[in-house]
Symmetry: D2
Subunit: 287 residues, 4 copies
Amino acid sequence: MKDISDSDLRTNIPLASARPDGRCTPVRVGNVEVGGNAVVVIAGPCAVENDIQVLDIARAVKAAGAAMLRGGAFKPLTFPYRNERMYELGEVGLQYLRAAGDATGLPIVTEVVDVRLVDMVGRYADVVQVGARNMQNVPLLEEVGRVGKPVLLKRHFGASLRDWLGAAEYILHRGNERVILCERGIVAPHTHAPTSRFIVDIQAIPAVREYSHLPVLVDPSHSTFRRRYVAPIARAAIAAGADGLILDVHPDPERAAVDPLQALDYAAFGELMRELRGISSVMGRKL
Amino acid sequence: MKDISDSDLRTNIPLASARPDGRCTPVRVGNVEVGGNAVVVIAGPCAVENDIQVLDIARAVKAAGAAMLRGGAFKPLTFPYRNERMYELGEVGLQYLRAAGDATGLPIVTEVVDVRLVDMVGRYADVVQVGARNMQNVPLLEEVGRVGKPVLLKRHFGASLRDWLGAAEYILHRGNERVILCERGIVAPHTHAPTSRFIVDIQAIPAVREYSHLPVLVDPSHSTFRRRYVAPIARAAIAAGADGLILDVHPDPERAAVDPLQALDYAAFGELMRELRGISSVMGRKL
Amino acid sequence: MKDISDSDLRTNIPLASARPDGRCTPVRVGNVEVGGNAVVVIAGPCAVENDIQVLDIARAVKAAGAAMLRGGAFKPLTFPYRNERMYELGEVGLQYLRAAGDATGLPIVTEVVDVRLVDMVGRYADVVQVGARNMQNVPLLEEVGRVGKPVLLKRHFGASLRDWLGAAEYILHRGNERVILCERGIVAPHTHAPTSRFIVDIQAIPAVREYSHLPVLVDPSHSTFRRRYVAPIARAAIAAGADGLILDVHPDPERAAVDPLQALDYAAFGELMRELRGISSVMGRKL
Amino acid sequence: MKDISDSDLRTNIPLASARPDGRCTPVRVGNVEVGGNAVVVIAGPCAVENDIQVLDIARAVKAAGAAMLRGGAFKPLTFPYRNERMYELGEVGLQYLRAAGDATGLPIVTEVVDVRLVDMVGRYADVVQVGARNMQNVPLLEEVGRVGKPVLLKRHFGASLRDWLGAAEYILHRGNERVILCERGIVAPHTHAPTSRFIVDIQAIPAVREYSHLPVLVDPSHSTFRRRYVAPIARAAIAAGADGLILDVHPDPERAAVDPLQALDYAAFGELMRELRGISSVMGRKL
């Protein structure tokens, strides 16, 4: 029943495995610290739709207390024909996101899906995200290991903790010490409600703490795919000890270009932030 | 992807399904209300070992704020030879548990595993528990449907929400309106740490809220099997909106007769209760 | 990753675990041997609907080569209101099944779901079936351990091999040496087609061979829930080394009282039996 | 419960979805046809170790009836430090594999893991394999969609059939009509034996037949990770209707550079081929 053996810890994940003192090594992004005392909330649109939208969202999430801005310019979709692909703005999207980050002072987080675009994405992003579907794309892990920017590494929905820390080790092994883990749901025996394909593995949070010194976030939006589950899972994640969250926020979620079922509107995000502040305080942390 | 269809809700689970106003129907146990404003913590030993032990634990958990006392006198074990079977005290165990409940004023919760013993267990217990392994033992569901005591119905680790609410419907259908649901982990693709076989399905909490008016608890002890995961999962459950918890507590967990790896000692339980009180307050609830 | 440890084998499942010579211990039912050289096919209706139906089916499956007759008189259903409950004929159903067995010389297999009815069912049945949902109903396992008839023990869809062999051990431990295992699908991350909830665990067949001396069958009907998957899974099971199958057969499947989507009609059953005979021959076995 | 909707079939997977006549479209590789009447066995070493080894294996598997030769020159491993990486021979490995293919007349199948190497791998390979971990690496799918060689697309162990056919659609959409699907096991709730992490989803074979016109193979070696399970699963796959297999074969499996627990030696492979020939014949197919 043991997923990670002592031999794995010593031999296979020496850089990612827990330190003797059991503490987390915070990752610094600008003047934000992920994995330190403060809980970090990263928020923004699933997809960058245009320059006005992303700036508006950046201002709103900053006002509510978010520490970083997220937004997708490249997305790995299940099918090749989706209209959403219109909203793969690519480098233009990165420019809009960068401008919104600069205007608000929020560091920006965005996904890279192509090994040939790592340098380009790295020029815009403050944190480069490796998505769940690319968690074991080894050339991509090696390239983001060289890029000089912190990496947010999402867990594949079929991956064990061992697989996940092994992927982190590839990045660390290339000399990039700034790896942030992000749980975003695992495939589960039975879905229990419409459109919810994944189960957030809350136990992964204490498990990462036990086996690794890397900070760990949770993505309640892409895991649950449903707005009404986002706040409960977000609160649960912080209560279980996660170092933060990455959340989809949109001014008019039902008109969001991508994944319209999961984004929070500004009011819901504000209300959630108030609850998270309370829970963080119970945990002896700030937000 | 839809586990519960509208047709299921109308046709198959008319009594368990959500009310038009979306509210929970609290279940009254003595002067405790499960599913009302107050979060309810049920605590006690996995197995009733002797009269002194269970009384000592009852006093300790009451002092820390528990609202009910749990304790096993009958247990369905994986193998027939375990030493633990020495601690299946049966009716004597129920007498000890009853005495401890009476001495402290805590209602008692205990499991029934045999359809022929429902009346006997019902004479001692304030809440009769149906364990995960018997979730679809139909004759047992029908008997506890007649017993006149509230029923705590655990979810089988392989059961969908549809299966679980169907089981609740059997009890309601026999005229027993007082059913309390309890999530205790589901089988998961990969275990991520030694001895943890189940993943607590935190999304089940908002999902039960959406589809049913029954209160829902979480058991962080039997789901995780590991002490260090109990507090994080307990906090996450309350943060996600659960109506309470059922927890293993033992004065000397490593010497517990059954499941020594999962019980909290008094100090850890007291510390957890303080955290839960804070989280409940954030949620606008009492504890 | 080891589900069954050497310590389990020695301490917890001494009676069910593999013999030093690695061979299967056949279970005798009348003049049929399960787990011997011959592959054994058990066939019949999901539910006994009436005396004429079951006799007609018995004759048809015997003519096609079935060695035993199956039929349900008691069924654990997901919800309490289903019309199918009209077809829980109970003891009358057992009488019809017995008569059909006597008329054709086929031993009969039927499920018992209530510990209070084990003796009654045992008076009619040649093989008493414990269904998946009752796999860890300990009092039921203990009663069928005393009943003097062979027991067909289905695997719960959430159970590991360790849980399953532990359940078999309860029966063996009560003195009943004739236990036949039956794989019927496990909960899986993603269903891949309408109405198919379970994945048949074909690897369980060589795994049972490795860890246990008990014969093992597969139920392709209740696992897949879909007619078009039944023949492929049936052939796969025999090719993987299973000792036989238990199959739903009905003269007019779409009008079957229970589970109309999964039964084979006579022609499809006859064609499948021809294929199974060929595969058995490749495996050095008879059918 | 429906994984693939009619809307998906029409809108999202028009090229991969089943034809009106329900038939498979064979994929031609040299003078081998995958998905035609003949069952196709692809065999060879997990990793190409040297020129002599791969030629020796090529001769042995051809003599036993294999139609193509497999061998890895690039492998995505879980951890970055494994000794196995010594056996990532890269382009030299491809040259050895090509030479062995040319000497025996067997088309060669090999994996590409880096989008920047697709053209290079495509110059050597007759079939380009996309491994499970890269099943949703979109840039890689798009590149192999342009490469002019047939593609063997393995299913990710966490992927639904919908995800898998969506990945195939990316390749087809780029103009490459020759896509061969390959099932290689899915994450499962409980492993039932040491080192077996995945459950082969045998039902995926009839499910692919129902929803797609693409041929489908099974990999019993990388799914089960254990030699003793390979032959049972291989036989089951063919009995369930798979168009062929891809198998690890090594002259001295315990000394194989990579995955020593799963390869068959020549004698075991020969014996399995005899059994598969018999089962293919029962299915009305040749081998």
